[in-house]
Subunit: 317 residues, 2 copies
Amino acid sequence: MNSIDHAPETPTLKIEAFFKSAPPLKDAAEIETKLKEFVDRNSSGNEKANRVVCVTSGGTTVPLEKRCVRYIDNFSSGHRGSASTEYFLKAGYSVIFLYRRGTCQPFCRSLPDDPLLECFTSTDDSSIQVDPSHAEVVKRAIAENRSAVNGGFLLKLPFTTIFEYLQILRMIAVSLRSLGPSAMFYLAAAVSDFYVPWESMTMHKIQSGSGPLDIRLAQVPKMLYVLRNEWAPVAFCISFKLETDTDILLGKADMALKKYKMHMVVANELQTRKEEVIVVTEQEKITVRRDTTQPGADVEDPLIKLVVDRHSAYIDA
Amino acid sequence: MNSIDHAPETPTLKIEAFFKSAPPLKDAAEIETKLKEFVDRNSSGNEKANRVVCVTSGGTTVPLEKRCVRYIDNFSSGHRGSASTEYFLKAGYSVIFLYRRGTCQPFCRSLPDDPLLECFTSTDDSSIQVDPSHAEVVKRAIAENRSAVNGGFLLKLPFTTIFEYLQILRMIAVSLRSLGPSAMFYLAAAVSDFYVPWESMTMHKIQSGSGPLDIRLAQVPKMLYVLRNEWAPVAFCISFKLETDTDILLGKADMALKKYKMHMVVANELQTRKEEVIVVTEQEKITVRRDTTQPGADVEDPLIKLVVDRHSAYIDA
């Protein structure tokens, strides 16, 4: 595997090589247009007035074959990203929601898996009714989503593969440059660490022969570094660190903060991530917990308040 | 990896070892109850009158870690399984729909990805309305799904991992034994060929260190053999063969037919699978094409007609 053995040295060269070998993005022109419209709508000429956050959400996939039958996926329901999007909108931000197809959508977190089939009944005169038990959440989901999308405050862009994710993220970063420090990246997506380089990928379905299957995966270039240093050097950047092992979590979050010069790293542990997170900055480590005295309170509520607060300080600095 | 090197020899022993090492099914008792009710409702005492088909749909996942962050997935939208379910119901069959969570549901194939947010609007008096352009498909989806589920003709059981899939499939096979040859297995799900044995799996998230990652995967035991020979020896069994390389497709379908003693193997190629399939039986190879003179006609329409026809002959034999 040439691409692994002779990988270029710097993060920038690595990511350029990654993009060069990636399959081209299908609807690049359409995304470009949507982004331009969105940024134009959110640019009043006063940098400080236009706060736009790009929230990434859900996991990326890594195809194992070019005509893809099998792929490696990262688990992520998209709950963190969709909840955070709601609170950012509430705080007056406009949001670019870069999400994995099929994952949780803003305003839809309280709905069952398959809301259309589970929340509605059809009556004898063939009209459709919402079950009374779901009526409130269904109405809220439809109304709030429409209001945010139609009002121009919420732009949703879907991805599936790591190749799509990184290419769209770069487009967003470039298009948000004009907003200066008012732009924020809130990188909650679970991005694959390993992938099979496109040019070394098998064309056809891997055959199940007689023995075990050995797969060699290359490391995905560290996009955070390039985002901070080149794509969006003035934007406020928050990344996430998820681990299942608490013993190594804070150390890894600290390392990410320093190595990639993030403004904040949100550390979360798989089992307790809906209860609390630890926000790591250069000066401090702040534990943020959901308000357990309020039924249904989210940890994203105080988390976004803290983030917005720090973003304000960053803009004013 | 002990479990690979010292794997037991026969398919039956292999699958027993697989189940022994698999994580226990969480809602086994609830599934058992649902299956019992469903089979009771569809047992009139006359074997020939009660046709029940188990349709499997969507792809299975293979966790790479016990506290699962990463997994290998098989691509499958669930379109084939959900379309086939509709035609089986139309033909008077009762259907156990064993489907991958989040994949396409019967009667919902013509809907957009996110029907709740894309097909509905809320009006000023906070009531909900279907967009006129989607009204017909939305109403049909809700009404036909409700009628099939509430009438007791459609039982939906979700899975995610290969472990869940095989355990539930075995429960279904055992519970359908009482129906003799009137039971059918229509195995359209994309089942993983390779997996990481649970006991050799790492507990925590695999760390992205410095170099490439090597993964060794073991073969999933050939469940088709055990299903035909032990779990459901009298049922009518149809399996699917999907390839991206047409050159090897028919040979592999033929091999599956003989090796696993299937009654039919449906061979399909990734690019053309919605246009045509080739049905392989012991005596013949039949190409089934969708009716291109009818707008929106499915290849599953003639396919299920052929399947039902052969199943009738099998029951009468």
